[in-house]
């Protein structure tokens, strides 16, 4: 798809379509990948609270996994995990 030119874009660099960050994959920026030991996870969801990218997938009160299309590999989840079950591994 061809990106819009300057004559049709909203002025001022505004994004007028709410929530379109989901179409912008930032996962390719990652050099370290959070690997989660799901067996040992206690579903406390502290990683979900701290993740700055909203890249922790959750259903109801259960931890489902990491959204690798958007996770930038910052490692905050690994450092806040009270169970120490998230390990940052080289991509």
């Amino acid at each position: 798809m061809k990106a819009p030119g300057w004559k049709t874009l909203p002025a001022g660099g505004l994004i007028t379509e709410a929530g379109n960050a989901v179409t912008y994959n930032t996962g390719s920026w990652r050099t370290l990948r959070p690997a989660v030991d799901k067996q040992a996870c206690r579903d406390c969801l502290i990683c979900w609270v701290y993740c700055p990218e909203g890249a922790v997938k959750v259903k109801d009160t259960r931890f489902l996994g990491i959204d690798y299309a958007h996770c930038k590999g910052c490692g905050i989840c690994a450092s806040v995990c009270p169970q120490n079950v998230i390990e940052m591994q080289k991509e």
Binding site: A3, P4, L9, A11, G12, G13, L14, I15, T16, A18
Partner: protein
Amino acid sequence: MDRKIAVTGDAAAAYAMKQINPDVVAAFPITPQTEIVMNFSQYIADGEVDTLMIAVESEHSAMSACVGASAAGARTMTATSANGLALMWEILYIASSTRLPVVMPVVNRALSAPINIHCDHSDTMGARDSGWIQIYCENAAEVYENVIMAVRIAEHPDIRLPVMVCQDGFITSHTLEATDTFDTDTIRQFIGEYTPFYPLLDTDNPVTYGPLDLQDYYFEHKRQHSDAMVRALEIIPRIFHAFEKTFHRKYGFVEEYRLEDADIAVIVLSSTAGTAKATVDHLREQGVRAGVLKLRFIRPFPAKAICRALQNIKAVGVMDRSDTFSSRGGPLYSEITSALYENKQSIPVADYVFGLGGREIDPRMIETIFNQLLHIMNTQRVEQPVNYIGVRE
């Protein structure tokens, strides 16, 4: 009802702001702009406006608060001078490229170092490429009228750029002048209700302000910004026309004074235009055909109007109240010579840097410039393109 009042340039700016009654003013006081903020605060204390005044801790914060308020959907104003403007630098670009129509009276003052509180144009000239519209005023009446006009220019849907309304520190800002004022209702009708674009407070239509904008979109946004300035050149004359119809005051990008039959002319901004006009009157009595071209706008740069005004002039002196330290004199000199070059007008032009840090400029000094221009006209040669007037050797 129109009324004549005695005001300083600062008081004229504050009085116009009172009649405009902006939603938000975020400002920090700095000499010689202080009286604008002081007078406007008094209007708030007296309940004459219902503006939200944000007293900030610096000019960087003042412009940041203006960006936030304007993005939220408020008609927003501030005011500053010199080092205060310099401290706003980062946010000046953010306000203009986010296309927020903030209106800011600027009281021109020299930049440090050495520290100096008096007039020159180094502050706003440094900001001339920050994407703001810049208007320069000769006296308190022009300050008053341009502040009103600036609101309509800034908020025009096809412009949407912030505007600086500049006046000379102390010379204009602290000198009492008789100034006609206009009826408040007529002013409010002229500027209209403010209709913000994509206000952040419109939660039914959420938008993102200031996202990361990389190789894929940034260039397009800057291209839009350039285009807005080009369009401003087309639209502002319509606003001059509307202003004249409403308030019976004629405006243009430039003001030509006794240029129609002139041989030589100086180009000048702000209060010095008055001194130059008086000098021209004096020289005319001696048979010297001299004239003045006063620039009211330098952003957008009215190249066509300047070239047209100079078409029969045989030698031009540019008076620059700031230096670029580039070895090529002041900023107006390089912009005017390049406009003339592009238009294939090969008039000899000399630059005269003057009045730095409030150094006095009097009719005798301007007469010296005109005498040099007569010599340049007769020889059609500019021996020294960049000259400094009024400095001790």
